[in-house]
Subunit: 223 residues, 2 copies
DNA sequence: CCCCTATTCATACAAACGTTTGAATTAACT
DNA sequence: AGTTAATTCAAACGTTTGTATGAATAGGGG
């Protein structure tokens, strides 16, 4: 059964920057679990596989996290914090709305492209039925909100064309998430040569340009 | 274990349009399996869940398909054929390259948005590590090739701006796949009101416009 | 009616699953 | 050295997993 999410409101998030303190074993377990969950999914990853990869005892997951599902949630939360931060930073940067949108898209793609486990886990959540885990939902909803506000700002000062700001934000978000995930298989499928990191950089440039072009207001419309 | 794909070259595909003939039970199994695989993933779906949903005996999967994995491959192949056909039709339609790109994006999004299992299964394949199943790879590679050739055609006649046609094709493809999958969760996350089908239609319009704007050559560049 | 092939069915199997248990080990403090 | 708490460990628990088996049930031609 896929982890479902009884509200479990016993959880603090107000400060958005708590330093979770964990034993070394717990850290190692989370690192191993991240890789395996991203590669094979939640149901496809056994507790035994995780503990073996981490060099820990089979009972370590139950002892340190309580259950496999709790470990999964901890992993999910741990990766979404930096993703949210990445977007927040680029969002608060200098420049016009369009320029900031460009840097959000490029930065996000570069970040995720180098940690492919992150977007993979996000996509796994999105592509199952039922609502994604609340921690995923919160991050996505926050990031979409920031992107939408950038779009609206640009629409107000006339540099961004009219259109539904929410859908525009979704399109912006889909580029980094989708492309960072397909980058690796794409090298084989489409026969793209070269180093993986170089491809990510090219993709970041491309996606940012693609996004800006799609949004900017024409200088010479029929007005 | 996620289905891996020993080449298994004993498989005919030349004609691209074989009418697979199956018993009614096999058909029912595939329909039930499609829904469950898309909802919970391969590892998260048990043979018992499939046969129960199909109203068939537990042994039916082994008898009709040989194994759970073979059933999965049959399901995968069955959904990718119509997806490939959808793209091929829009690709061969009338109009300029940009207009045909617009209708590929819109048609694909409308099609997938109404059969969410299709893009879900595709994304599941893409978001695991390791190469996707060959049948997925072939469809994606074919579709990307068609999109890329449209882009190149438009670049030749000057209606599409310069840029890497392969990356452009990937961006085009990512819009329908990604948006059709996130449509449902997005209604809750972003609080989009209205009927699901109406949202799909709005998304199709939006994504097509987004794509065309991103690609078209400016009439008034500094040339 | 009988035989033959195709399909369904209940049941069984070994393997893998997440979790529990209680003893062994480690580390810190008195 | 002695006490206590935290952690690790090997083993076992009861389920659930995918697949195999052999008997039961059809449905046509002879």
């Amino acid at each position: 059964m896929v982890p479902t999410f009884v509200p479990s409101d016993a959880h603090v998030d107000s400060g958005d920057d708590e330093r979770e303190v964990r034993s070394p074993t717990a850290e190692t377990l989370m690192e191993a679990a991240l890789v395996l969950f991203a590669a094979r999914g939640y149901a496809g990853t056994s507790v035994r596989a995780i503990t073996e990869a981490a060099g820990a005892n089979l009972a370590a997951v139950t002892y340190h996290f309580g259950s496999k599902e709790a470990l999964f949630e901890a992993v999910l939360a741990s990766i979404l914090v930096p993703v949210g931060r990445e977007i927040r930073q680029a969002h608060q940067g200098p420049g016009s709305p369009l320029e900031r949108i460009r840097s959000v898209v490029a930065a996000l793609l570069r970040y995720m492209g180098r940690q492919p486990e992150y977007p993979r886990l996000m996509l796994q959540q999105l592509s199952s039925t039922g609502l994604p885990h609340p921690v995923v939902r919160r991050t996505i909803s926050g990031s979409l909100g920031r992107l939408r506000s950038l779009v609206e700002e640009g629409q107000r000062d006339g540099t961004i064309r009219p259109g539904d700001p929410t859908l525009m934000a979704v399109s912006l978000m889909s580029q980094p998430v989708h492309m960072s995930v397909v980058a690796r298989p794409l090298q084989e499928i489409a026969g793209i040569p070269g180093e993986a990191d170089a491809l990510i950089d090219r993709m970041a440039e491309h996606a940012a340009e693609f996004a800006v072009r799609a949004l900017e207001a024409r200088e010479e419309t029929n007005a």
